[in-house]
Structures are given as C-alpha cells and as structure tokens.
Amino acid sequence: MLELDDVKTFYGSIMALKGVSLKIGEGEIITLIGANGAGKSTALMSICGIVPPRSGKILFRGRDISGRDPHGIVSLGISQVPEGRRIFPQLTVMENLDMGAFLRNDKGEIKKDMEHCFELFPILAQRRHQPGGTLSGGEQQMLAISRALMARPRLLLLDEPSLGLAPIFVRLIFKIIEKINREDGTTIFLVEQNAHLALQVAHRGYVMENGRIVLEGSAQSLLNNEDVKRAYLGI
C-alpha cells in the first residue's frame, strides 16, 4: 500500500532522513520505533508532503506521491493523527470533526461517521459543543483519532498517540487502534517511542536510528531481539 524507497529529507542543510526504505502492506499495522530525534516524525511529514523529500520515492498504491501538495496527498486516503494532537483549540468538538471530513461532500454519511466516533468515544458526544482547547489530553487524543477517521482513510498515520497520556487512556487508545484495523480494514502506520506497547499491537516493525532504518522484522522477533530489548524495552 505504501512504499518508501531511499527517501532523503532535509531541514535546511540538515539531513533528517538518510535514505529510508520501508513497506506497508494493505491491512497491516506497522510500527516505527526509535528514540527521540531519530527522524520518525519527519518520516510522517515526508509522507504527507508537509516536508517533501529531496530525493527518493514515496509510492502510495503504486503512484509516486512525493512532491505533491499535502491536500492532494490527503485526498488519496491518507490521514494523520499528529504528534501533540493538534486539535483546533477554538473550534468545537463537532467543528473539529467536520474539519476531518473536509474533503467529503456526502452529508448523510458524514453524520453517520460522526455518530460512529461518538460510539467509539462516548465522552466526545458529551463534549460535542465544547471548544477543543478545553478538553483534557486524553480526550484531545480521542478527538484527534476521530478527526482522522472522519476522512475515511485507507491509511492512518499515528504519531506518538501514547505521549503524555495517563495509562488508562493509553490502553483505551491502543484498543481502539486495533479495533479500527480489525473492523474497518484500515491500514495503520504507528510511530511510537513506547516500543513495548507498539510491538504488542503491530504485525511488523521497523527500528529507526539517526535517520536510518537499522532493524526490521515481525513484531514478535523485534520483541525478542537482544538489541531492541536493551535499547528500547529496558530489559
């Protein structure tokens, strides 16, 4: 479904991605783990076209999308739950969800999807007329996931969904991620620092260090890998 081939991305003269290649198959949950500053978020920004790669190819369903405008990429079916949630603070919960469905025009279906989000996260239904900025961190993460789902993505990118959340919210969010994958067949690319958690839900994983992929394999094999254990799992 998504394939990165030798992608190099720069911030000014600093090379953040030094030739990243990875593959995500239809219906998979793939995780990208690594330390702070390894380039994980940059990989997502490159896929979405916010920080376009300087060289290399990004293929989505066979088409090269590198160099396209972000709104063009999103319209192909890629949604992102960005790091830090990035809820529009002065828009209400419902307006935030409306923004998720910005590229859609099927009003009836949008309404249905919104109700579906409210079923997934009942707390959002209670807060539907509240400005997004007044929600707690966990609620904002639920809203960010719901907002991304409103676009009916084929591929959902999640950037550190566990960051800064209470354990009870983290468990809930990861359960929902698995559910979205299982029930809707949405392909998921999960970027996480919390490697233990990410490898429990993912099918396969990649490990990133200093802008390079240094290890890849099934989630199980990574969980048992001595280097991963030492560096990321703290065992």
């Binding site: 979405c48 709104h71 999103v74 992102q80 990035r86 529009f88 002065q90 409306d98 923004m99 910005f102």
Partner: protein, 300 residues
C-alpha cells in the same frame, strides 16, 4: 444634546468605514500574521473604479440606483482581483521567509499602487458623484443623520453579519478558522491553504472596496492618497480591537470613529489624529493584545 447626537452619528459613520477596512486587516493577520499595508490602496482602487464606471455609465445616459449597483459590482470585483494579485505577487513567494520580508514587500506594494494611481489619475482631488440615494423618510432626521450616513451604517452592519455567518457556518469559513489556528494541521486534513489565503484576501478586498465607494460618495471627492490615511486609521482600529478578532475590528473601528468625531467636535479638528493615536497608545499600554484580542503565550 443635538450637537452631541450629531457627533455621535458622525462618529458612527466614520467608524463604520474604518470597521469595513479593518476587517480586511484583521482577517489577513489572523491567517498569515501579516500586516497588509497595501490594504488601504485596495480601498482607494475600489473608489476609483467606481468613479470611472459611474462616469462612463452617466455619460451613456444612465442614472439613479442602477449606476450605483453596476459601479459597485464592478469596483468590488476589480478590487478583489487586485487583492488576490497582490497576495500572489508580493506575499506568496515570501511565505517561508522571515516575518519582516513580507512586511517590507507590503509597504512596497502600497507605495507602488499609490504612485501608479497618481500617474494614471493625477494628484488632484477628483469630484465623486453622490451615488447613494436620498431616502425621503430621513428628511425628518436630517438634522442629525443624512440618508448616506444611514446607508453607510446599515451596509456595514449587514456586511459584518454576513461575514460572521459565513465564517461560523460555511465549510470555507471553518477552513479559514482552522487555517488561522494551525495551518499545517489544516493542510493535513486536506485544506488547500493557498486557496483559503486567496479567499481571505478576496473577501477583505471586497469589503474595503465597498467602504471606498460609500465614503467617496458621502464625502464627494477622492485622490490617490485617501487609501494611505484610511489604511493607517483602519489598521489602528484593528489593533485597538485586537488584531485577528472580527468583532474586535468592528468595535475598534467604532471607538476610533467616535474618538475622532468627539475630539473634532469638542476640541478642535486639528486634534482628531492626536486623540485617535493617543487612544491607541493607551490601549497598547494597558491591553497590549487589544480590547477583544487574546493574549497568547509564546510557546517554546
């Protein structure tokens, strides 16, 4: 008391025009954090376009309301095209640059447009026909408020309401608010941010052009320099109300209009600018974000 009422209405009229122009400043600032110094020139170009169209139509034998409507429609479209083009030429290429660069570009655009109209239309004040109709029922109140004043205030009120509804309820309005709050996130949701920015310039320019036609018709003469002065005043109004805030722009415009009107009426017309800018200084000392602006903490 009559004198007070007269000043009140005069200030309201003047303030309405400031508000119409200030809306353009505040919307553009809200989305790209740029003070569009060429905005006053758009207002001036709107007035000139209306003058040219109205003259042509009058020569062709038309009169009355149809001249006003046709001239206004053409002027609004023309001014919007100018606003759109100014953004594409002077600001869009500088979107990734430091904040000072587009600001300087804006000042350059302002000087360019002023001089271009100066060359095309001379520096003389040109008479502007009174396009606004006389409303017979206003005769009874002629002492405080003329027809044109009523039309100016009512038009501003209607425009502000339409704008507010547009921003609150339409898809484009929501996209504008989302882009103002977090541009990259809006992009990640599929918003064509360039189009949102263009639309903001078009809407702001259209409002400024309406203001230009109204005030030119009310005062009865224009020259190439009116945009500069009105622009500075409307900018003051936008800052006064809290730049980025739409109700703030209207409130700031009205307060500024009244300040000037009362200063002229009770002190001296020589002092109207002194009072207007003294008010600005006071507001900036005690409420740096403006009356309705939110003071934001810089994130690090």
């Amino acid at each position: 008391m009559d004198y007070f009422l007269e000043l009140l209405i005069g200030g309201l009229t003047r303030g309405s025009i400031y508000a119409l122009i200030a809306l353009g400043y505040t919307m553009v600032y809200g989305i790209i954090e740029l003070i569009n110094f060429a905005h006053g020139e758009i207002y001036m170009i709107g007035a000139f376009t209306a003058l040219i169209i109205a003259s042509v139509l009058t020569m062709a034998g038309m009169s009355g309301l149809s001249v006003l409507i046709l001239a206004s429609v053409v002027a609004v479209i023309y001014a919007s095209a100018y606003g759109f083009t100014v953004e594409k030429i002077a600001y869009k290429p500088l979107r990734q640059a430091q904040r000072l660069s587009p600001l300087i570009s804006a000042i350059g655009m302002s000087i360019f447009l002023q001089n271009y109209v100066l060359i095309a239309q001379t520096s003389d004040f040109l008479p502007f026909p009174s396009l606004l109709p006389e409303l017979p029922f206003m005769d009874a109140y002629a002492q405080f408020m003329g027809s044109s004043e009523l039309i100016i205030v009512a038009t501003t009120a209607v425009m502000t309401i339409i704008l507010t509804l547009f921003i609150k309820f339409t898809k484009m309005g929501k996209a504008m608010r989302a882009t103002a709050q977090d541009r990259n996130m809006a992009m990640l949701l599929g918003v064509n941010v360039n189009r949102v920015i263009s639309n903001t310039f078009i809407i702001g320019s259209a409002l400024a052009a309406v203001g230009g036609i109204l005030i030119a018709s009310h005062i009865g003469r224009i020259n190439f320099y009116i945009g500069f002065i009105a622009g500075i005043k409307a900018f003051t109004a936008a800052v006064l109300g809290g730049i980025g805030s739409i109700p703030g722009a209207v409130l700031g415009g009205l307060i500024l209009g009244w300040t000037e009107s009362f200063a002229t009426g009770y002190v001296s017309s020589d002092y109207e600018d002194v009072f207007a800018f003294a008010l600005l200084v006071l507001i900036l000392i005690f409420r740096p974000a403006g009356l309705l602006g939110k003071s934001t903490v810089q994130k690090v």
